[in-house]
């Protein structure tokens, strides 16, 4: 009996170390698609030219088959009395902020998912329902999502919204950068409809150059900061503004990609399964030694 178990034990130990060796030269299994193509697209929002007509909100809903009142109702500026957030009924919203400088128009800011280059939602999602596409869009797959809402906990911009009132198949809702439209060669609906050409859709690289050119040409008009160029490792949506971004609804964020630390810790704990298997072997050894010690103690007693 004793002998058999010991042999089993050694056999098992042998098998597990073989597994480590085999696992060693393979990449960690199935990380989600996360490609940063050099010519990926982006959108540049110039908040100084936005007039708050909210046609972009209407176009977004229409493009995504979401219920919406007629476009005329969007002229009502009463909605600006309250700060709003994108949610499951509106993937993009426009907020209005006071401008302290005398005789200045208020500042209108359109806001939606930023389509981060290193998205926290993609890193967090338990089943890989979020993906960063080659053209820069971060999209969500309804067939995978289990509704755990970890993506919401993770997103630094508090973007993914959950259909809490839905009983059977609640969705996670957020801007998808009009993925269906861009696949067909169209531009995002909000950008297309905007009468002031606030939203420029184009190659992210070009947009950053254009933004800096604008800042150089009109130093009085713009703050010398392109929001999204470096925040949380870069985002596909970029913003220009005349006023401190934190005062017009943008969170204070560093330059480190949002998932950075957690992924490092996670991969440190697992590192090709070496630490867990080493712990297993260690505990097995301790167990074996203690057992033997006990047997010899008992033998001494006899």
């Amino acid at each position: 009996m004793k002998e058999i178990s010991r042999r089993n034990f050694l056999k098992f130990a042998g098998v597990s170390s073989a597994t480590v060796l085999a696992a060693g030269d393979k990449p960690v299994k199935a990380a989600p698609k996360n490609i940063l193509a050099d010519n990926r697209m982006g959108a540049l929002v110039d908040t100084t030219t936005c007039i708050g007509c909210r046609k972009c909100e209407w176009a977004c809903k229409t493009a995504h088959d979401m219920p919406t009142p007629s476009i005329d109702t969007y002229a009502d500026r009463m909605v600006f009395n309250k700060m709003r957030r994108p949610d499951d009924t509106a993937l993009t919203i426009v907020n209005e902020y006071k401008n302290d400088a005398a005789n200045q128009f208020p500042i209108n800011v359109k806001f939606q998912c930023m389509h981060c280059d290193r998205p926290a939602c993609v890193s967090a999602c338990i089943v890989g329902a979020f993906t960063k596409e080659e053209n820069g869009a971060v999209i969500w797959d309804t067939d995978k999502c289990i509704g755990c809402r970890y993506c919401m906990v993770a997103c630094p911009f508090q973007i993914p919204a959950f259909e809490f009132s839905e009983v059977l198949k609640p969705d996670i809702k957020k801007c998808d950068f009009c993925f269906d439209r861009t696949q067909q060669g169209l531009i995002p609906a909000c950008s297309e409809i905007c009468p002031m050409e606030v939203i420029t859709y184009g190659r992210r690289k070009d947009l950053i150059d254009a933004a800096h050119q604008k800042i150089k040409n009109y130093p009085d008009r713009y703050l010398n900061h392109v929001f999204g160029e470096e925040e949380v490792g870069g985002t596909s949506w970029l913003y220009l503004a005349s006023k401190d971004f934190n005062k017009i609804g943008f969170p204070k964020l560093g330059k480190d990609p949002a998932p950075g630390v957690s992924e490092a810790i996670q991969h440190g704990i697992f590192a090709y399964f070496v630490p867990p298997i080493a712990l297993y072997a260690l505990l097995g050894g301790v167990m074996w030694i203690n057992k033997n010690k006990k047997i010899s103690d008992e033998e001494k007693e006899l």
């Binding site: 178990s5 890193s123 089943v127 630094p156 198949k169």
Partner: protein, 412 residues
Amino acid sequence: MEHMRATPLKRKYFTPTVIFLSALALNGLIFLLARFVFGIGAVTNLTNENPWGIWIGIDVAAGVALAAGGFTTAALGHIMHKDQYHAIIRPALLTAALGYTFVAVSVMIDLGRPYFIWHPLLMWNGNSVLFEVGICVMIYLTVLYIEFLPIVTERFIGRVNLPGFLKSYNSFVDKMLRLLDKGLEKTMFIFIIAGVVLSCLHQSSLGTLMVIAGPKMHPLWQTPILPLLFLLSAVAVGLPMVIMESLVTSKSFGLKPETHILRDLANMVAPLLGIYLAFKIGDIVIRQTFVYLTEITPESVMFTIELLFGAIIPLRMLLSPKVTKSETGLFIASFLIVIGVLLNRMNNFLIAYTPPYQFNSYFPSIGEISVTLGFIALEILFFRWMVMIFPIVSVPEVVAPKAKYSIKGAIK
């Protein structure tokens, strides 16, 4: 020394406490039903600002931590081979198995799409901390059930008594049980070690969960060593949980508590708790986040309560022999540690979490509280039921026939 032997406890099931707990459980189940009929939004106060509430913070995060008695006693009894503690392994194992079962159920009810709960088995995202936690908990739950099987075989071997026409299968079932028992005996060490490894992995990964929330989490709790803190606190709370349970069980069934064993256990808790405390305090000193403690905010108050009542006071208590010698002292110290870890998990997942755009703060709804209390009540009811059916609690045996199955699973 008198011999101890695990045996089913024969008592009346319904006592006034049990009836009260049943009412709590029923109330919880009614709200649970409402959640499946009207949706999560109708029963909970969850919003896009606070996507996770007490079903995750208490039922899942604290639940996993408080089930740590399972792996700490397994390590102590089976891996370190401290045979004198075998009396406490089975109750701890049962608590862990029940605890993790309820964790799984809690996850299930909190999911927007519970019918997709199996998705992580096929759809892997190795970068997701939640994926890691989920898979580990699933495997560990299976391991726990396997570890529990010998108790079932012990209960029924030689006692198979099927009703009616199934009677003719009695000897066949008995044979199968014996076969299973023998197979388990030889392989159990694999599962015991796996159980400890899996526990270490997911207890710490549970701490990594909130790291990705970044600046949404209050600096008092947001630290890269969160996984270590979670692991250390889980290790420290395992034995106090066992002590508390053992005292309550013996009181409720009118048995004499094993004070000498419990005192030995309590003496091991102090250093474990001390290590945790050292890391916790070291962390706020090194990151200089103690400055947040000088202002009075909900966060600083909760942090102070957690640290003072959950760690510092019980640590001081356990260092005094007067306390560890008395049942009441042991109970209070263990209770404080248990509450401390519960608070810590709640603080990490709820109090520390402040989204950048917050219009309303989160407070659990009646429905959420009812379900949480109902689950706790159900767990206690199941525990009582199980110890009456299966040989789990050890009682002194005057005539001591050597129990064949007493130390199942270790390498023999």
